[in-house]
């Protein structure tokens, strides 16, 4: 069983990560772009 402090830190990291990834996906390019398929 880990201590309360490390649990809290891990939780903050988790929230931060999810928010960051969310905003990254919002403003990021997106890897898969299917618009090229339109040319077929």
């Amino acid at each position: 069983m880990l201590g309360k402090n490390s649990q809290t830190i891990a939780y903050i990291v988790l929230l931060g990560l999810i928010i960051t990834v969310g905003f990254g996906a919002w403003f990021g390019a997106g890897a898969v772009d299917l618009s090229g398929l339109e040319n077929f």
């Binding site: 069983m1 880990l2 490390s6 649990q7 891990a10 939780y11 990291v13 988790l14 929230l15 990560l17 999810i18 928010i19 990834v21 969310g22 905003f23 990254g24 996906a25 919002w26 990021g28 390019a29 997106g30 890897a31 898969v32 772009d33 299917l34 618009s35």
Partner: protein, 298 residues
């Protein structure tokens, strides 16, 4: 002098009605759901991202963001269920681990969700994705802990017998829950309180049986026949009271619930007494043996 207010239509009935002696007995502390709810909130930018990609005409990235959102929210929900299962596990003295390790699966789902959103929504490379994914799953595991994986209170006693006891108690707990659910449909706070008291008495008896599985034989009728009868009567009375109710039926039902509660308590006392007489026999046998073998302190 201050006097408790109460009338026929007060939530707890008239002032002279017997108040439940221990209203919180046998109730487990429910873990806070705040941490799980905040994860839902933290994942909402992914929904906005999905909307932006949709408006930008990038269907694949939109799907990826939605999938990431669903995995994270689903994982958090699973973790919430796991916390509930863990509370139930902790409340019991004899318990089998939950069939599905929900907290573990939830953490993995969160890691996958972060990964999908990173690689396909954000467009980062494989290495970054792997690191983010691992951090997500690991942080979720550290925050919420692992599920109980081992059987509890089941060592040194006959495995078969213990499994039988665990099965009977799980079924009986289900019956109690169904009875409480049915009681919630009865528009009568006094009766609801009585049924809660019956549930407490029944659960206290379960704990006694968990302590000493040999008690199962004499408690079995209570845990199956009487409890099922009480649940069926509660369901039927709830249906009747929905249709208007009937004073005679209410009085009969209240008497039945009271009788059952008392008999559950009496049976529990009896089981405890049996345990004590077992202990007395054990002590006597040991002391006699000590005397016979001359180990007595001189």
């Amino acid at each position: 002098m201050a006097k408790r207010f109460g009338g026929d239509h007060s939530p707890k009935g008239p002032v002279n009605a017997p108040a439940p002696s221990r209203p919180f007995a046998g109730r487990a502390v429910q873990p806070s759901r705040l941490r799980v709810t905040l994860i839902y909130l933290a994942a909402t930018p992914l929904l906005l991202a999905a909307m932006t990609k949709m408006m930008g005409g990038n269907a694949a990235a939109m799907l990826a963001n939605l999938l990431g959102f669903a995995l994270i929210v689903g994982g958090a929900g699973l973790i919430g269920e796991g916390m509930k299962a863990e509370t139930a596990f902790n409340a019991r003295k004899l318990a089998r681990p939950p069939a599905i390790p929900r907290k573990l699966f939830g953490a993995i789902a969160i890691g996958l969700g972060v990964g999908v959103a990173t690689i396909m929504g954000w467009g980062l490379g494989l290495v970054n994705t792997a690191i983010f994914s691992a951090i997500g799953a690991g942080a979720a595991l550290i925050t919420f802990g692992m599920d109980p994986m081992r059987k509890k209170g089941m060592s040194g006693v006959d495995e078969f017998q213990l499994n039988r006891v665990a099965t009977v108690i799980e079924t009986a707990e289900d019956t109690v829950r169904q009875m409480i659910d049915a009681a919630a449909r009865i528009p009568d706070r006094v009766l609801e309180g009585r049924i809660d008291a019956l549930a407490v008495a029944a659960r206290e008896m379960f704990r006694v049986v968990e302590d000493d599985p040999r008690d199962l034989a004499s408690a079995r009728k209570f845990m199956t026949v009487y409890l099922t009868g009480a649940r069926d009567a509660t369901v039927q009375y709830a249906d009747l009271s929905r249709r208007g109710g009937n004073a005679a039926a209410r009085a009969d039902f209240e008497a039945l619930i009271g009788d059952l509660e008392r008999s559950f308590e009496a049976q529990r006392e009896k089981l405890l007494l049996d345990n004590r007489s077992d202990l007395n026999v054990e002590i006597e046998v040991l002391r006699e043996r000590l005397q016979r073998e001359g180990v007595n302190a001189q």
